[in-house]
Amino acid sequence: MSALLEVEGLTAGYGAAPVLHDVSLTVEPGQIVAVLGANGAGKSTLLRTLSGLLPATSGRVTFDGQDLRGIKVERMVHHGIAHVPEGRGVVTELTVDENLRLGGLWRKPQPPLEPIYELFPRLAERRGHLGHQLSGGERQMLAIGRALAAQPRLLLLDEPSLGLAPKITAQIMALLRDLRDRTGLAVLLVEQNVRSALSIADQGVVLSLGRIVTRHDAATLVDDADLRHAYLGF
């Protein structure tokens, strides 16, 4: 099976100072890859570069065999890449329903929202509420639901557990695993919460100071005490 996302020697950053150095990784269809690492390791920068919000200074990104260089941010979703940014990115001035519609608006005909509401019954109850009236967990569900409305093949998910209660984080992780199993969705999951990320990931990639320092099966990372101590600090 050929990789869905292939990143080779990616270097990127803000201004003259690179944040990512020579990052290479692959994501297979239906695979959940967790990107782990401390604050400032470059995890969010990696996602922002992949979705085109930040230009890469060098390196190659191919998605489903197609070179992504020069593709505009607003076209990425057409290629099947949906990015849920850190801080959730719910448009707080719009209603739940409008946010969800926005996710699939580029598709013709527009996809029905009912499957999303079935996935997140809580959102269905609040479909007329404005984004800023939602709780943190609801916003995260909305951001993920909105990305799913685009029916992507790869979900770039930035810190979904940020500021959420453990129970809600667990729900979201279970949902991702379920989606992967049912639809073959691939996920590149950036997380500070190592345990919950590895609980659903197939593979774990550890970033440190913008470089990939190790890459293993999630089970290996969890089971191998040396690896855990060395790279994950628990």
Partner: protein, 292 residues
Amino acid sequence: MDRFLFLTFDGLSRGAVYAAFALALVLIWRATRIVNFAQGAMAVATAYVAYSVADATGSYWLGFIVALVAGLLIGAGVERVVMRFVDHSSPLNGVVVALGLVLIIQGVLGMIYGNEFRPAPAPFSRDAFNIGGVALLSRYDLFVFAAVGAVVVLLTLLFTRTPTGLRMRAAAFAPDVSRLLGVPVGGMLTLGWALAAAVGSLAGMLVIPTELGLHPTAMDIVFISAFTAAVLGGLDSPIGAVLGGLIVGLLLSYISGYLGATVAPMAVLALLVVVLLSRPDGLFSRSKARTA
């Protein structure tokens, strides 16, 4: 009492124009956090073009349509060619660029058409007809209400009922997130500027025949009144802009009716100062002022 009623209707008619013009300012502010100080000059430019067409063809309505189309084009042009390249790190940059545009547009209009007032005939009679023995409204006033009402209804439908309106709102509120969702944010900005400038042109076409006529600076005082209306409404709120416009129109009408027309421009400035000092977020703003 008759006089009060007359001043009320006259104020509402002028207020409707301010409302449209303030609405145009709010559209651009919401999308780009720029107060388009050039909007008056842009509107005058399109009015000159419109009256040139009307004079040449003998059809006011052809000129009227040309004004709206020219508004769309000049709005899109200003966004694409100038405003897109303004550095947004300081809010003053957009203001200075817009003021520069005012000078350029007014200078060019003066060179082409001369710096004197030119007649701008109204398409309908401005003589008020009697309702129950009281002269309240002219046919022109009714035209103003209908035109502004149509714009408000059409913009409301656009923004609340259409996919494009949803895209425009999302692009204005959260540009980066919108791009991730596949919204062509740059295109939405251009469209927003085009629509706003067309609404500004409409307001110019409605107000210029009621004043001294065409002049490169014909919209300056109108701009100040409409800007006050927009600030009164909170700059972020389309409903606030419309209500603010009507309030400013009424206030100006009463003041010039009871205190004299020379006091009115000062009264607008005084109102602007009072609003900025006491309610800088405006009377109708829902949320606290956002930082850029």
